[in-house]
C-alpha cells in the first residue's frame, strides 16, 4: 500500500501511509486509538475506497469497490467485532456468500467436509461444522473467522485486535493459529495495542500516529519503550494528579451486600477519596457497580443512604454510574451533546445547570452542544457522559473503566477531572483493569475475587500485590 490517504466528512484520518508485507511474514500495525489503523485495514479489505494512493498485490495494482473484490484478490480480514451470523451453522458462516454448488444447488455435504478438514488442519476438535455459531465461545468464534479466511485461499490475512476479546489461555491458541498461517506462506497483518503480542509474533512493526506513518521497524531492533515513544510521540510519563489531602465523611456504605453474583460485600466510600476496584474478569467488578447503582440491585445486606431497588432510586439518592460501555449504556449516540448532557436531569426532573458551563468544566473541545455524540472521539464521548452526571451533582460517582478506548490526552483530562470532583467532596469509586491507572489514581484499592471482597490495599501498593490478592485461592 502506497501513499494511502482518506478523509471522512472532511476530517482527514489517513495521509500518505505506506505499508508493505511479504508472504509468510507477520507484520504488526500499532498506534494509539484514532491513529487510523482500522481505517487503513478497511481500505485494504475494500470496505472504504482510499482518496489517494494505490494498493499492489503480487506486483499487480488493484482497486476494490466492494469487499467482494478484496476477497477475490486474496485479502481476508478478521474484524474486531466478529462478522458471524449467530443463528447459522459454522459451515454456513465459513462459506457465506460463496456456498459451493453442485448442479446449481448448494452442496451442503461438500461445505461440511471442507469446513471439517479446515478445522482439523488447525487442530480444532471442540466443535464441528454443523454447530450453530451462537453456541460457541468467543475464542471458538475466532477460530471460525480464521477458517473462513483460510477457505478463501487468502494470501493476506488482516487481524484487527484479535486478542481483545480473548482470555489469557486463549491467546496462546491464537498464537498457534497465527504461526500456522505463517507456515502456509500467508502474509499476516496484525493490529494490536498490546506490545507483548507484537514482540511475540511479528518480525516487523509499522507505527501510525494521527493518521500518518511514523516508522516501520524490525522488532528485533527496538524495545517496547521505543515503540511506546514512537506511538505517543513522547515519553509516556506516568503522570497522575496528586492524591486527596483529606478524606471526609462517609457518603456511601455497604454492609454484607449480596445478590446472584456478589456475596458479603462490605465497603465504604468517603467524600474526597477515590477508591479503586480491582479484580479478574468475572470477579464481579461491574456487578458491584451495577448493584450500588440499582441496575442489578443487591438482594441482601444493607446500604446507606439507601439500598436502591432501581436505577431511579439510586439516582434520586445522588448515585451516578459511568458505565463501562458508553456507546450502549452511557449515551444516546444519535442525539446531540446537549441532549445527552441533560439526560439525567430531565429523567429526574431537576433543574440543570448551563450546558456551556458544564462542557467547559469537563474540558470538551470543541464544545459544540448541537453536535451528535456519534461523531465525537471516544475521549470526548466520555466527557459528555461525565457532564451528564455532573448536572445532577451526585454525592457518589461510580466509574467502570473510565478511560477505556480513550486517547492519552483525554485520559489525563478525565483523571484530573475525577480528582477535581473528589476534591469538591464527591465520593468516587473507580473500576479499572489497567493496573497503573488503579495504582496512580486510587487512595485505596478494593480487590474482588469470586464476587467477594478479597481485601483492601493502601495507596502505593504494587501491581504484584493486587494481582496476588485478585488471583490467589486462599482468602486473606
Amino acid at each position: 500500500m502506497t501513499g494511502i490517504g482518506k478523509s471522512f466528512l472532511g476530517v482527514r484520518v489517513l495521509a500518505e501511509v505506506d505499508l508493505a508485507v511479504a508472504a509468510g511474514q507477520v507484520h504488526a500495525v500499532v498506534g494509539e486509538n484514532g491513529a487510523g489503523k482500522s481505517t487503513l485495514m478497511k481500505i485494504l479489505a475494500g470496505v472504504h475506497a482510499p482518496d489517494t494512493g494505490t494498493i499492489t498485490i503480487d506486483g499487480r495494482q488493484v482497486s476494490f469497490g466492494h469487499p467482494l473484490d478484496a476477497q477475490r484478490a486474496g485479502v481476508a480480514i478478521i474484524y474486531q467485532e466478529f462478522t458471524l451470523l449467530p443463528e447459522r451453522s459454522v459451515a454456513e458462516n465459513v462459506f457465506l456468500g460463496r456456498e459451493p454448488l453442485r448442479r446449481g444447488l448448494v452442496d451442503r455435504a461438500a461445505m461440511d467436509t471442507a469446513t471439517a478438514s479446515l478445522l482439523a488442519g488447525l487442530g480444532e476438535d471442540s466443535f464441528g461444522p454443523r454447530d450453530p455459531v451462537k453456541r460457541l465461545s468467543v475464542a471458538q468464534q475466532q477460530v471460525v473467522e480464521i477458517v473462513k479466511a483460510l477457505s478463501l485461499d487468502a494470501r493476506i490475512v488482516v487481524m484487527d485486535e484479535p486478542t481483545a476479546a480473548l482470555a489469557e489461555h486463549e491467546v496462546e491458541l491464537l498464537y498457534r493459529l497465527v504461526r500456522r498461517l505463517q507456515e502456509r506462506g500467508i502474509a499476516v497483518l496484525y493490529i494490536s495495542h498490546r506490545l507483548r503480542e507484537v514482540f511475540d509474533l511479528a518480525s516487523e512493526v509499522t507505527v501510525l500516529k494521527d493518521g500518518r506513518l511514523v516508522s516501520t521497524v524490525s522488532t528485533s531492533e527496538v524495545t517496547s519503550d521505543d515503540l511506546v515513544r514512537l506511538m505517543v510521540g513522547r515519553d509516556l510519563g506516568t503522570y497522575f494528579p496528586p492524591r486527596a489531602s483529606s478524606v471526609g465523611e462517609v457518603r456511601l456504605s455497604v454492609t454484607g451486600g449480596g445478590n446472584e453474583r456478589l456475596d458479603d460485600i462490605t465497603l465504604e466510600l468517603r467524600a474526597g477519596e477515590i477508591v479503586g476496584v480491582a479484580g479478574l474478569q468475572g470477579s464481579g467488578r461491574s456487578s458491584l457497580a451495577k448493584a450500588m447503582f440499582g441496575a442489578a440491585p443487591f438482594t441482601r445486606g444493607t446500604m446507606t443512604p439507601l439500598r436502591p431497588r432501581s436505577v431511579r432510586e439510586a439516582v434520586a439518592a445522588g448515585i451516578g454510574l459511568v458505565t463501562e460501555d458508553r456507546k450502549a449504556e452511557g449515551l444516546a449516540l444519535r442525539q446531540s451533546v446537549r441532549d445527552n448532557a441533560l439526560l439525567v436531569t430531565r429523567a429526574i426532573g431537576r433543574k440543570g445547570s448551563s450546558v456551556r458551563d458544564l462542557l467547559e468544566r469537563v474540558r470538551l473541545s470543541p464544545a459544540r452542544p448541537s453536535q451528535e455524540v456519534l461523531y465525537l472521539s471516544g475521549g470526548n464521548q466520555q466527557k459528555v457522559v461525565l457532564a451528564k452526571w455532573m448536572t445532577l451533582a451526585p454525592d457518589v460517582l461510580l466509574f467502570d473503566e473510565p478511560t477505556r478506548g480513550v486517547d492519552v490526552g483525554a485520559k489525563a483530562a478525565i483523571h484530573d477531572l475525577m480528582r477535581e470532583l473528589a476534591a469538591d467532596g464527591m465520593a468516587i469509586m473507580m473500576i479499572s483493569s489497567e493496573l497503573p491507572e488503579l495504582i496512580g489514581m486510587s487512595d485505596r484499592v478494593v480487590v474482588l475475587r469470586d464476587g467477594r471482597v478479597a481485601g483492601t490495599l493502601p495507596a502505593g501498593s504494587s501491581e504484584e500485590d493486587i494481582i496476588r490478592l485478585a488471583a490467589s485461592e486462599e482468602a486473606t
Partner: protein
C-alpha cells in the same frame, strides 16, 4: 442488565489476566425443551389445538375432524398460506411487506378482467407481470432509496389502493368455469388450492435450504453488515425477495378470483392478508427482525390459525371473542420464542 464478563482489557499498560476458568464453551444448558426448535413448538401447539378443539367440539356434540371441516380448513388457509410463504421470505431477509393485501385485490381484478376478455393464460401472465413489478418497486424503494420497508410497502399499498378505488367500486370481470376448478376441485380429501399452497411452500423451502439465494436471505436478515462484509450483494437479495413475495400475493389473487368467479377491489383487505400473513409468519417462529425461522413454521402457523377458526365456528362462539383468543395466541407464542432465544444466549 448483565455483567459483561468478557471485558476487553485496557489498551495500554498491564491488563489483568483473565482467569482461565471463567469461560466455558457456551453450550446451552440442556433443559426439557431445549432440543426443540420453534418449528417443533408450533406443530406441537397445532396438535394440542386439534386435540383440545376436538374434545371441546365433541362435548358440544359435534365432530371437529369430519371430511367437511378438514377440507374447509385447507381451503380457508390456502390463500393466506400462499401469501404467508412470500411474507416469510421478506421477513427472513429482514424486511416485510404491507402491500400484499392491496396487491391481492389488484391481481384478482387483473385476472378476472383479462379472463372475461377471453384469455386465461394471458390473465395469468399479466398477474405475474404486475405482481413482479410491484415487488420490484418495493425492493428498489427499500434498497436504493433507503426507505424503511414498513413505510416503503405501506406507500406502495396506498398507491395500489388509490388506483384500484379509482377504477372500481365493486366486483368486476368474470372468471370462466374452467378456471374455477382451481378454487373448488379437490383430489380425495385435498383441495387443489391446498396443493397449490403446498407447491409454493415446497418451492420456497427448497429455495431457502438448497440455493445460494436462500443462504443469502438468512445472512442479510441475520446481519446485513456481516453479509456485506462477506461479499453478499445485499441489495439484490432484498429486491429478489420482494419480487418473490409479491408473486406469492399475485398467486393468492388468482386463487381468490377463481373462488369468487370475479375480481374484487376489497378481497385482499377484507381477508386482512397483510397483517394476518405477518402474524402467521411470526406465530410460526420466524423472528420479525429476520435471519431466523423458515417456511415450515409458517405453514404450521397458518394451519394453527385456521384450526382455531374452525373450532370457534363449530362452537358458534362470538366472533369478537375469537379475535381476542387469536390475539392472545399470537402474543403468547412470540413471548415463548423470546424466552427461548434469551436462554440460548447465556
Amino acid at each position: 442488565m448483565s455483567d459483561n464478563l468478557h471485558t476487553t482489557p485496557a489498551p495500554e499498560g498491564v491488563a489483568l489476566p483473565g482467569s482461565p476458568g471463567d469461560r466455558k464453551v457456551g453450550r446451552a444448558r440442556p433443559g426439557p425443551w431445549s432440543g426443540l426448535g420453534s418449528t417443533q413448538v408450533v406443530y406441537l401447539a397445532l396438535l394440542a389445538t386439534i386435540v383440545v378443539g376436538w374434545i371441546l367440539v365433541a362435548i358440544d356434540g359435534g365432530n371437529l375432524l369430519t371430511l367437511e371441516t378438514v377440507v374447509g380448513v385447507q381451503q380457508r388457509s390456502a390463500a393466506l398460506g400462499i401469501v404467508a410463504v412470500g411474507q416469510t421470505l421478506a421477513i427472513l431477509a429482514g424486511s416485510l411487506d404491507l402491500s400484499v393485501a392491496y396487491l391481492i385485490s389488484l391481481s384478482s381484478l387483473v385476472a378476472a378482467e383479462i379472463m372475461e376478455a377471453g384469455s386465461v393464460p394471458g390473465a395469468i401472465t399479466a398477474v405475474i407481470a404486475v405482481s413482479a413489478l410491484v415487488g420490484l418497486v418495493n425492493g428498489v424503494v427499500i434498497t436504493k432509496l433507503k426507505v424503511h420497508a414498513f413505510i416503503a410497502t405501506l406507500g406502495v399499498a396506498l398507491i395500489i389502493k388509490g388506483v384500484v378505488d379509482h377504477l372500481y367500486d365493486g366486483p368486476a370481470g368474470r372468471v370462466p368455469e374452467s378456471f374455477q376448478h382451481l378454487g373448488y376441485d379437490r383430489v380425495g380429501p385435498v383441495p387443489v388450492s391446498a396443493l397449490l399452497w403446498a407447491a409454493v411452500a415446497v418451492a420456497a423451502w427448497f429455495l431457502l435450504s438448497r440455493t445460494r439465494y436462500g443462504y443469502r436471505v438468512y445472512a442479510v436478515g441475520g446481519d446485513p453488515d456481516v453479509a456485506r462484509l462477506s461479499g453478499v450483494r445485499t441489495d439484490r437479495v432484498v429486491i429478489v425477495t420482494h419480487i418473490l413475495c409479491s408473486l406469492c400475493a399475485g398467486i393468492a389473487g388468482l386463487l381468490l378470483a377463481s373462488r369468487l368467479g370475479a375480481g374484487a377491489p376489497t378481497v385482499g383487505t377484507d381477508g386482512g392478508y397483510d397483517l394476518e400473513s405477518i402474524a402467521a409468519v411470526v406465530l410460526g417462529g420466524t423472528a420479525l427482525a429476520g435471519g431466523r425461522g423458515g417456511v415450515a413454521g409458517t405453514v404450521g402457523g397458518v394451519l394453527l390459525l385456521a384450526v382455531l377458526d374452525s373450532v370457534f365456528n363449530q362452537l358458534e362462539v362470538n366472533s369478537f371473542f375469537k379475535d381476542v383468543v387469536r390475539g392472545v395466541v399470537i402474543v403468547a407464542a412470540v413471548a415463548v420464542y423470546a424466552r427461548r432465544a434469551g436462554r440460548k444466549r447465556l
